[in-house]
Point group: C2
Amino acid sequence: MTDLSDTTPEREQALNQALEALFYAFNALVAHPDAMLAEQNLSRVHHRILYFVGRNPGVSVNDLLGILGVTKQSLNAPMRRLAELGYVRADTDAADRRVRRLSLTPAGQALESVLSGDQRARFARVFARLGAADEAGWRRVMAGLAEDEGLT
Amino acid sequence: MTDLSDTTPEREQALNQALEALFYAFNALVAHPDAMLAEQNLSRVHHRILYFVGRNPGVSVNDLLGILGVTKQSLNAPMRRLAELGYVRADTDAADRRVRRLSLTPAGQALESVLSGDQRARFARVFARLGAADEAGWRRVMAGLAEDEGLT
DNA sequence: GCTAAAATGTCAACATGACTGACCTATCTG
DNA sequence: CAGATAGGTCAGTCATGTTGACATTTTAGC
């Protein structure tokens, strides 16, 4: 079953099911947060900003551009919107006044907690039901997929 | 570790790592096919069409719209392009001449095989290295995430 | 202290892609 | 024949992302 040289139609179908499982799980995970964001006319980009600013309070705008892999022009609009809605604050750095240190307001933390919390809760329920062994196996497979990036 | 009532910061961080692992794995999986598609000015939509038509030869356009969850207007352009490039053919149904039966040409099958084959190979390598137990655990977790869709 | 460079923000022009709405042909069904 | 169905297309709109150019503020080097 785990032989690399197994190229039977059955194995190919099993791998196709793995492909589809990844896509379905991904969609299931973002569906509800996307719907909540849409109620405020926000999108997944805003969630990504909230998530990374939340986990890296004090990041500069430039750092965030690198993390998100977007241009400053495309970050500008969603970031301004998040600031207007009172979810993100940008404080001038004390030492270097050119730099803005980004952080979440309490409201921003609350929103981020609801959005990512929904996703964490999905994982928590599944992990709790299936047990530590499956969770560990899942993590090893996901890490393996991410590492494998360099190959053809 | 798998207790649902575990709301410690450590557990929350472990769940965040699970979230990130899913996103990184997803990106790693689509990166190379996306790059190959871009060389022909195609995108992920075209791959989705090739994948579903390849696994459901003879589907009607309407069926495909339902599977992909898009409008016929947005399917029209990529589908026409795939037909022009000789990857997809649309044969009139013998019984009901209103209906087009979609299928892949040999060239379309070859392209789809390269694109999805790259993704299957990534899974095959990781599964082969980690073993059947981790593969089974991974599949159970992914299935659980997809099923869990209905909750808050 | 003057100058070059860095960090940020903004404006304009353009491309993409998806959506809705409207309309059309061809075909089937009652 | 009348209405419904499968498919295709045109037009308008909207959201988002990109590049390029430019201004401001501030820092750092000489």
